[in-house]
């Protein structure tokens, strides 16, 4: 079974949801015309990243009643879509969110669990943290969604792996930083290294969709990637350029890699649970 994956590296309009929606619909159409089955947009692709007081203005639910979401849900009848947005719950808490849309339905919404609030980041000031990490079933098998800082921590990808995800979808709006003598920024090296490492460690497919463009002085470097369960690079987006990166995922690679390297079979989650309980001061 094959999955034709498209990673949509967009430069978003900051706070202009209508303009971003138009860009999404255009790229969804383009991805479909290039035979993609699934198109993954970066973190906060519908809104832009450094939102500050714009958060409440751009927030909305991922449902048919939201005129900014309705066309995306409709478009998902032809192609699966992962889109980034600001979710607002019934009690007016705001979340950095990504939704998986398929078959004209919202299949899954992930709320970013780790909100970086240090250095150049100020997410914890404006957003509520999500409180669950769940895999979900798609027509390509079980998948998991994480947003940027979520996968700077090792536990969320691990939990998705334990929850059955064979396809890890990472969405980022990662400001580039750390210029030195190397040919990529430090932050780009770091993310590239860990995404490949997760593919290797979890013998799973890992796709990372990262945005491009600028917001004030922040640059977003793009460089979206796809790795197969053996850690081989299947797709590499350009640095700094907007556009679609296409990759063909041979899903049967999971069986071959895991037969050779049965890390999943040998993983002892109950041991992790036991030791974590001890470490956290609870008796088992």
């Amino acid at each position: 079974m094959q999955l034709n994956l498209a990673l949509a590296q967009v430069a978003t309009h900051l706070g202009d949801v209508a303009a971003n929606l138009e860009k999404h619909l255009h790229l969804i159409k383009q991805a479909k015309s290039e035979s993609a089955d699934l198109v993954v947009f970066p973190e906060l692709s519908m809104t832009g990243y450094v939102l500050q007081d714009l958060v409440a203005t751009v927030a909305g639910r991922a449902d048919e009643d939201n005129p900014r979401f309705k066309p995306l849900i409709a478009a998902s009848r032809n192609i699966d879509i992962v889109v980034g947005f600001v979710d607002e719950d019934e009690r007016h808490r705001y979340y950095i969110a990504s939704a998986y849309l398929a078959g004209g339905k919202v299949l899954h919404v992930h709320h970013k669990v780790y909100l970086p609030t240090y250095g150049l980041f100020d997410e914890g000031r404006f957003f509520s943290p999500g409180d669950s990490i769940r895999a979900f079933d798609t027509r390509f098998g079980r998948a998991g969604l994480l947003i940027c800082e979520d996968f700077w921590h090792a536990s969320p990808p691990y939990l998705l792996w334990m929850d059955g995800a064979d396809l890890l979808l990472f969405c980022s709006a990662s400001p580039g930083r750390g210029l030195n003598a190397r040919d990529r920024l430090e932050s780009a090296w770091w993310v590239d290294g860990v995404t490949q490492a997760y593919a290797n460690l979890f013998t799973s497919f890992v796709a990372h969709s990262n945005r491009v463009g600028f917001e004030d002085g922040f640059n977003f470097w793009g460089g979206s990637t796809v790795f197969d369960p053996s850690g081989q690079r299947l797709g590499q987006g350009p640095n700094f350029e907007e556009g679609l990166t296409l990759a063909q995922l041979d899903l049967t690679q999971l069986r071959r890699t895991r037969t050779r390297l049965p890390l999943l079979r040998d993983e002892r989650a109950e041991l992790v649970q036991k030791e974590l309980s001890r470490i956290l001061g609870k008796s088992t």
């Binding site: 714009l54 040919d183 600028f214 640059n219 640095n239």
Partner: protein
């Protein structure tokens, strides 16, 4: 484990191709999204403005960048000549505005005016002339300030720091020099002593009392590396030098921010009325 920490070794080398790519895209993005397509650069004949000019011309197209030479009677004649080298090499439109008659009334009003006051007036006159050209040319002022002078406060508030965007503001002077070499800026511009050119014979390093080569390494350790002043001393810098640099950084914080607003209401600009500059674009 040894009680002595390992002395840090600052390495300020940068990938100039990557710097050029990011900065060119930055200028293009941040100028065009405001609805403008053009830029104005005050060209002193020195290194920083030569680099800003090349990046702006790359980003916006040479025809869309106005190079403005702003000489004063006391400026070094080399400055005009070196600026002209850049204008000719890039084929950008240019203007020369002599600020001498703009500064003169201040000197006449107070014949005992100090060198420092006159220098500030000159820097601010250049700002006025540049912003006037910005209107006339319909382009944004592209700044030329670097990280070293911003951190040391070696700059005139509302003068040479005034700009719509600062492409070089996160590069130390010695890093701008690396970029200048990669951009093939003429050696006469790269190799001459950096100067604000506010009076005859003035050099940055003469006035500051240290070289950019040295101070950049201390700043890099303190700011980028988050090392303590003690670690800088361990790295081989004199205590008095490290202390002076740390003091200059602290005392000049005001030059790096908007004036604080006295908070009275529930929503105040700068504290809890927070929007990025690129709001809505």
């Amino acid at each position: 484990m040894s009680a002595d920490a390992i002395a840090p070794k600052p390495d300020l080398s940068i990938n100039t191709d990557l710097a050029r790519e990011i900065l060119t895209r930055f200028i293009r993005s941040e100028v065009t999204r405001t609805g403008y397509g053009r830029g104005v650069v005050g060209l002193s004949g020195g290194l920083d403005s030569a680099v800003s000019l090349i990046l702006a011309a790359d980003a916006l197209g040479a025809a869309n960048v106005l190079a403005v030479r702003l000489p004063h009677d006391t400026s070094s004649p080399d400055s005009l000549e070196h600026a002209q080298l850049m204008i000719d090499a890039l084929g950008v439109p240019s203007k020369t505005i002599d600020i001498t008659p703009m500064v003169e009334p201040f000197e006449q009003r107070d014949p005992k005016i100090s060198k420092a006051r006159k220098a500030s007036i000159m820097a601010r006159m250049r700002m006025i002339a540049l912003y006037d050209q910005s209107r006339d040319f319909n382009g944004l002022v592209i700044g030329t300030s670097n990280k070293s002078e911003m951190l040391l406060g070696y700059t005139t508030l509302w003068g040479d720091m005034a700009a719509a965007i600062q492409p070089l503001g996160d590069l130390y002077k010695t890093q701008v020099r690396q970029l200048a070499r990669a951009l093939e800026i003429p050696a006469v511009i790269i190799d001459k002593p950096p100067s604000a050119d506010l009076w005859s014979g003035q050099t940055d390093e003469g006035e500051l009392g240290f070289t950019y080569e040295a101070v950049d390494r201390i700043l890099f350790l303190l700011v980028d590396g988050r090392f303590s002043p003690g670690a800088c001393i361990q790295a081989g810098f004199k205590e008095s030098f490290v202390t002076r640099v740390a003091d200059l950084m602290r005392k000049n914080q005001f030059k790096r921010m908007m004036p604080p607003i006295a908070k009275l209401s529930n929503r105040t600009i700068g504290y809890d009325f927070l929007y990025p500059r690129d709001w809505g674009t």
